[in-house]
């Protein structure tokens, strides 16, 4: 127990302490620095539109995950649970493959798929005569954030499906049979019996969605780096860029501290929300 906690402290608690300390300075990461009090925090909240944009993108991702990815995953999982064991296993494996790929590969792969010259997506659109919407998906301001969120959702889809599938398999047969006898069929069966039964799982998945959405960074770093403009900026990537590109190490640490606070608050909200769904 102790060594485990020590590792956690070493790589988690102590660094957060460092972060708080440097967030109160104008450090560039090297050289002399001075204390600037709460100036960095003041700037984040009052004079940094990119911070708010990043936060908005994170919230957008959470919303898309919960309201688009999850329902689809649930429906597919429900259909899968009624297939033969072999077909179901084959399909589940297919769905989950992206989730085991390195983010570097996922990023590179989608940068290439979205490429306006040789990307498969635009080739496909042109082949069916939709030249007008064959754009440069990751750099066009109208599509960039959607493209980035698509990549993230694509990779995370396997997990969502897996959780729901496993949960559906735990629904006791008796429960279903009883509902069946009562005349509940098809959708009604799901609405009145299965979904209420699985509410705790759904709640847990939603909490998990919030946590993973907060943790998105690599896919942004490796695809758009936050561009065009700062349209696809996410908090984690933004603080990295501030510290190591702009040389604003102190400010980056202030962003880090705010980031941790936001993560904890959003997770707490999700947990509270989950309790409403599944008391």
């Amino acid at each position: 127990m102790l060594p485990g906690l020590a590792v956690l402290a070493f790589s988690l608690v102590i660094p957060l302490g460092f972060s708080v300390y440097f967030s109160l300075t104008d450090s560039a990461g090297f050289g002399d620095y001075q204390s600037v009090g709460l100036d960095n925090y003041r700037e984040i909240f009052t004079d940094d539109p990119v911070f708010w944009r990043s936060l908005r993108n994170v919230v957008l991702l959470i919303v898309v995950t919960i309201f688009v990815q999850n329902p689809i995953a649930f429906v597919l999982a429900a259909v899968l649970s009624r297939l033969s064991a072999r077909a179901s296993r084959l399909l589940r494996t297919a769905y989950f493959v992206p989730a085991v790929l390195s983010l570097v590969i996922v990023a590179k792969l989608w940068v290439d798929v979205f490429n306006p010259r040789f990307g498969v997506l635009d080739k496909l659109l042109r082949a069916v005569g939709l030249d007008a919407i064959a754009v440069s998906w990751l750099s066009d301001p109208r599509t960039a954030i959607a493209a980035v969120i698509w990549i993230i959702v694509w990779q995370g889809f396997g997990w969502a499906l897996l959780f729901y599938y496993a949960a559906l398999m735990t629904v006791p047969r008796e429960l279903e049979d009883a509902a069946w006898v009562d005349g509940a069929t098809g959708l009604a069966l799901y609405r009145h019996v299965i979904i209420p039964y699985l509410a705790p799982v759904i709640a847990a998945v939603i909490v998990n969605d919030v946590i993973t959405s907060m943790k998105q960074m690599e896919l942004v770093y490796l695809t758009t780096a936050g561009g065009p403009g700062q349209l696809t900026q996410f908090l984690a990537n933004y603080l990295y860029q501030k510290a190591f590109v702009a040389g604003e190490y102190g400010y980056g640490n202030a962003l880090s501290v705010v980031f941790v606070a936001v993560s904890l608050v959003l997770t707490a909200v999700a947990v509270r929300g989950a309790r409403v769904v599944a008391p």
Partner: protein, 411 residues
């Protein structure tokens, strides 16, 4: 008998180096490798371990190393204020003996850009200026027989290349600094006055003055007119360079350090043979001349102040300064910061590059994006990305620049 053995064992030294030349088999990178080989031969027992990345990741790495106090012994860096001054101020760089380098034929002002408080901290390696490379064969295929001298003439070429499925011009939009250099140049072409951006950074004039707004309008038009590759804003340096090198783009907006394109074995012989360069066009109604040249000393070599091999590192720099100009010109890899002799056998693009600098009426010095703090550079680059993506108006852009300059001036 024992002593020589011990001596040789002790003298096995590894110098750690860093640079932004990941391709070691071609042009510039190959020259550095050759210099390294010669240096090792002249200093038996010395090993050289080099780490290379593309510009942006490399700059990030150097900042990270500085933070960790693990800078390489000798590394390539940039003379420009925004990058160089923080390292000088932080005491990371070893001062060099200026007298030793004064004798080596550096162009006027070259060493001065690396001098702070009367001390020389780095040796400049190349003379950098802004040109447009073009692919003669692609011009011919599109039936274009004269080079554009004004922006309007340049815009007129767009449909002709597009009809052939060729990208008219490629550049690196993701990293934003090429756009920033072009912004400086447009302000100069329009006003006929050099150094306006510098004056704005020093807060003698404002970025919200009409000339900058007009330059911003021109730049936004340039970036959104269809002249560049569709994914300009996510294309990094390597991607842009490849478009030109693989014959997918007819022109390439970049600095003179790319004159090695004409000798880069990674590209096909046809492309290499067809590479040439011309001057950035003038703007209609502008007061500037086509011979006003964005030119500065960009790359330099420095020695880490905390290096365990300080003396050897300094020797390497002196060796490099003596060998590089000759080799660089011999391989037609880049235009050094030292004088070179034109030869009849120079590649067409090398001849053009020499002609462009030879005909320059005035030169700019360091581009404004790099004249101030790292924070200013970052703010500036983000603003210009937004401008060139069409996300903000030229007026909003100059407003952002002015705010960034204000912030930088207060520090």
């Amino acid at each position: 008998m024992l002593i020589p053995v011990l001596a040789s064992a002790e003298s096995r030294i590894t110098i750690k180096m860093g640079d932004n030349l990941p391709d070691r088999s071609n042009t510039w990178g190959a020259i550095v490798e050759q210099i390294n080989r010669e240096f090792k031969a002249a200093h038996p027992g010395t090993e050289i371990a080099t780490e290379s990345y593309l510009d942006q990741p490399y700059q990030q790495k150097i900042k990270i190393y500085a933070t960790a106090r693990q800078l390489p012994d000798v590394f390539k860096f940039w003379s420009v204020t925004s990058l160089f001054k923080p390292l000088v101020d932080g005491g990371f760089l070893a001062p060099l003996d200026r007298a030793e380098f004064d004798r080596l034929g550096y162009l006027p002002g070259a060493l001065d850009t690396n001098t702070y408080n009367g001390k020389l901290y780095g040796i400049p390696v190349s003379t950098d200026f802004w040109v447009i490379y073009y692919n003669k064969q692609l011009f011919k295929d599109a039936g274009i027989d004269h080079l554009p001298a004004t922006l309007d003439e340049l815009y007129a070429l767009i449909p002709r290349f597009k009809a052939k499925g060729i990208i008219p011009m490629a550049t690196d939009g993701k990293d934003a600094w090429p756009l920033a250099i072009t912004f400086d140049l447009l302000a100069w072409r329009l006003s006929g006055q050099s150094g306006l951006p510098r004056q704005a950074i020093e807060r003698k004039i404002k970025f919200t003055d009409p000339v900058f707004a007009q330059a911003a309008r021109e730049l936004q038009h340039l970036a959104t007119s269809g002249l560049f590759q569709d994914d300009l804003m996510v294309s990094d340096y390597g991607a842009a360079r490849n478009l030109f090198g693989q014959g997918k783009a007819a022109m390439y907006l970049m600095g003179s350090w790319e004159l090695g394109l004409g000798a880069d074995q990674a590209f096909s012989a046809e492309v290499r043979a067809g590479v040439d360069a011309f001057k950035f066009p003038t703007v209609k109604g502008g007061k500037g001349s086509i011979d006003d040249l964005m030119a500065w000393y960009g790359g330099n070599y420095v020695v880490s102040a905390t290096s365990k091999n300080l003396a050897l590192g300094k020797q390497y720099l002196a060796f490099y300064a003596r060998r590089f100009p000759e080799l660089a010109w011999d391989k037609q890899a880049t235009l050094p910061a030292q004088t070179v002799k034109p030869r009849p056998g120079d590649t067409p693009v090398a001849k053009s590059i020499l002609r462009v600098i030879g005909e320059a009426r005035a030169t700019s010095g360091t581009p404004s994006v790099d004249l101030s703090t790292p924070r200013f550079k970052d703010d500036y680059e983000n603003a210009i990305r937004e401008l060139c993506s069409g996300l903000i108006t030229p007026e909003a852009f100059v407003g952002k620049l002015d705010a960034a300059a204000d912030k930088a001036a207060k520090k």
